[in-house]
Subunit: 237 residues, 2 copies
DNA sequence: TCGTGTTCCATACCAACGGTACGTACCCAG
DNA sequence: CTGGGTACGTACCGTTGGTATGGAACACGA
């Protein structure tokens, strides 16, 4: 690959010179190095525009190493994806750890999420390329194990805290509400990230979502029950 | 491509046999044929997995024709994308054309959108591959000219119909609200499409979003003003 | 310490892909 | 009938993801 001028007609001899800077250091640091380099390049250029040659070049190894640790480009991406998602999850959880009131927790979670979604690596790898590369199903599995799981808990706290039914919330309905909120936050967050004035845009998103939450709260206070998915047409009005 | 056994060593003579079934029929039907075939294949296999050879093969032309009408694979995708988006827009608009009340209009629009997002072509081409292939910026431009524009108008109608301020809604806030709703619908819709029981899932989504709308409506009736993006921290609670 | 299996990785190669260069058949204005 | 533009077909190229092969370094029991 782009190295036509090198040792050519000595194919069988050891060829020597495996590495200058002493490879094989600690237990498979190569793998982590590959993931780190791949994360950087995927985040900068996107998945399709990043070639394996580029990755292994910058990681100072060859494709042999890469294909020893990963089954292919997609598997490498998946490792990167999980890493980024894990960081995001940790970051969000740190942002709402000392909030007790469900509504304040929701607000803190929203802010933390808006911060995360402005990081270029998260946007590019998780939001933009994630679904396309992993396929929607796999993308969703991964997502539901990390950031989505947090949102589920927040939404659950909000729904149970409201004086709707005491305790028990229909699990399916909870999932649906979370999907709705997660999508809203994700979309709004992405638009925040690509805004001219991200801070202002984030403020607007907070205001809008906060307004919606206030609406839900007023319903809770008024004793309006959560919708029953089994019922017929009784959504708006 | 994959035709090693053919006329080889007669490179300069016309080679003849341009086509069996008489090409060059009407005025550039080739272009539309290419778009149609590409839409089908992109929808089935996704953008990266569909090769140009496959497209031109099924369209009964060669890459020469393709590169005459389009500057490359991405340009072809964009043509397909616009076509699919235009159909979606028309479908949604047809679904809410005879609704006058803003809240009913919103509900009808939601249903129409949930229908659209269940079509495989729309999901794959617009939702899944769209952002990744076009890049977020271009994707957004296209989107805002079609389906997003409809949602803007619906949201505007809802916001102005509520007795918030009479008339005038802050344009930026409107945009933000729309992004939030659009994201919610898109995410929920996609999850509907990949659900085991799409009909039931759609019902749940309708219920959830309807509940949220009801909350907003109660705020409107109570005379709670729309949030002011300029104000500080006053979102939830 | 000597095999011997396993891990880890480099080298060389391949088929398929998107894209390009160039030629040619056709149409129409002059 | 001729020149130029349109609408393709054909052949070819560089790069890409992926594979086959083999060797070097370690682990470890005999």
């Amino acid at each position: 690959m782009s190295k036509p001028a090198a040792a050519r007609l000595i194919p069988k001899v050891p060829t020597k010179v495996p590495r200058v800077g002493a490879r094989r250091t600690t237990r498979s640091s190569t793998k982590r190095e590959l993931v780190a380099v791949a994360e950087e390049l995927f985040a900068e250029q996107g998945y399709p525009a990043t070639s394996l040659d580029q990755i292994v070049g910058q990681a100072q190894v060859t494709k042999g190493a890469l294909y020893h640790h990963f089954s292919g480009k997609q598997a490498l991406f998946e490792a990167v994806f999980e890493r980024v998602e894990a960081e995001a999850r940790a970051s969000i959880q740190a942002g709402l750890k000392d909030q007790r009131d469900p509504w304040l927790k929701a607000q803190a979670g929203l802010r933390a999420f808006l911060d995360v979604v402005q990081q270029p690596a998260y946007r590019r790898i998780v939001v933009l390329d994630g679904p396309s590369v992993l396929g929607y199903e796999r993308f969703r599995e991964q997502e539901e194990r990390s950031t989505f799981a947090i949102v589920v808990e927040i939404v659950r706290a909000v729904l149970t805290a409201g004086e709707w039914d005491d305790g028990e919330v229909d699990e399916e309905m909870l999932q649906t509400f979370t999907r709705v909120f997660f999508g809203a936050m994700s979309s709004a967050g992405t638009s925040v990230a690509s805004s001219d004035d991200p801070a202002l845009a984030a403020q607007r998103v907070e205001a809008a979502l906060g307004f919606i939450l206030t609406g839900l709260r007023s319903l809770a206070d008024a004793g309006v029950p959560l919708p029953d998915p089994a019922a017929g047409r009784d959504s708006a009005r």
